[in-house]
Subunit: 119 residues, 2 copies
Amino acid sequence: MNAINIAEKFSLFSDYFNPRIIGELNGQLIKAAKIKGEFTWHSHTNEDELFLVIKGLLKIEFRDKPVDIKEGEFIIVPRGVEHKPSADEEVHVLLFEPATTLNTGNVDNEFTKSILQRL
Amino acid sequence: MNAINIAEKFSLFSDYFNPRIIGELNGQLIKAAKIKGEFTWHSHTNEDELFLVIKGLLKIEFRDKPVDIKEGEFIIVPRGVEHKPSADEEVHVLLFEPATTLNTGNVDNEFTKSILQRL
């Protein structure tokens, strides 16, 4: 058991929309992702998803409204709710979600990452 | 769905070793706790536990070694592992753990909090 330094994990990769696994507990994964630009509309049938912003400003569009999530803030997107993450500038986000969660949920497209690297 | 500001949640209480629930997903709870002084030795039979340090320096003693967890770092304590959190100065910690988790695990003493406030 060791302390995991979040900033150090983010220093190990630079690509966007490609989450890395940095922790696992109780069947849930902690993932680190860099986001810049627009992701795809999707939802997760069986998984609630938490986005915790470590650096920058994350925008998540829902069908009825957009929400800004700033550094030091998190949002929980319940299962079944369509959402579209985006960021004008690079954002560092921690994700907390079940190990079964696919990044694009019910959608399979160029953003889909079925196998994630562990850091 | 709204963004949850972590610092704002910590501004709403001041007592130590009394976690508040600030989020819930997939049967897991996000808790905010302030820690100062020494907690009790304990373990969780069925729950892994994540400590994410938002502010300050958290120390966790294990039977074989102590670990320091600094601001921006987290540690995952696997189920069954005895541990004793402590802090010389006030620390703000986020906990990610199953909803079934009791703060003192297998121990029932003056630190035990069976019912937690939701903020």
